[in-house]
Symmetry: C2
């Protein structure tokens, strides 16, 4: 049982304010609103009676997906295309294709950065030598 997520521990789901959601996702409040405006969310979060956003589990999970795409370098524009497909029936193959292409892209970037990193390592070695022997 350990490690399993207990669902519906409370009958009422914990709903976070935008500030709490920012805390939880690592995005800023402004960025959360910006992503919403930019059409990156599947469904806008519910609002309290006074019009304040309340983020539920599903909202946070989706924002997690956004963060994962964004932090691997996907431009907002492309994220948007991806999101939009969630409104299209049978678009799963295309969503898959986008993810696969993005994956390849990320791998290429990683490889390039790693190459440059070894060059940096060589330069560091060089400095370690000159600094030490001076």
């Amino acid at each position: 049982m350990r490690g399993m997520t207990v669902i519906d521990e409370d009958t009422t789901e914990r709903r976070l304010t935008i500030g709490e959601a920012a805390e939880a996702t690592g995005l800023s409040i402004d960025t959360l609103r910006y992503y919403e405006k930019a059409g990156l969310v599947l469904r806008a979060p519910d609002r309290s009676s006074s019009g304040q956003r309340r983020y539920g589990e599903a909202d946070l999970r989706w924002i997690g997906t956004l963060v994962m795409l964004r932090r691997t370098g996907m431009p907002i524009r492309d994220m948007r295309r991806f999101v939009d497909l969630y409104g299209v029936d049978g678009s799963e193959p295309e969503r898959l294709r986008i993810l696969q292409e993005h994956r390849e892209h990320v791998l290429q970037q990683l490889a390039e950065v790693q190459t440059h990193l070894t060059a940096i390592d060589r330069k560091i070695e060089y400095y370690e030598d000159t600094v030490m022997t001076k």
Copy 2:
């Protein structure tokens, strides 16, 4: 002898136009001029009698260093600080420190991207399953 670089094969060094240098470094012509203006080059390239830039070996090697820093995510501002230290005697320890810090930073980024990449892989797996079994 194989693999060794022959130096001074020609007595006159091959000096590239900005277009050729762009080709060689993977930067655009505009970016080369921009880097120069931004104070990222150790020494401005020589000019032809008519005032055109001519890039030599040393210029290209330094630009290679710039590319390696830039493509690993170092901001122009920080690159500039690094470059400026080349004019300061005894600044080797600080240059070393900057490179080491940058290295740590890059490693952290790599780790984060790799984490998100496995999340992407899981999502891809999920789609592969649903797409296949549909």
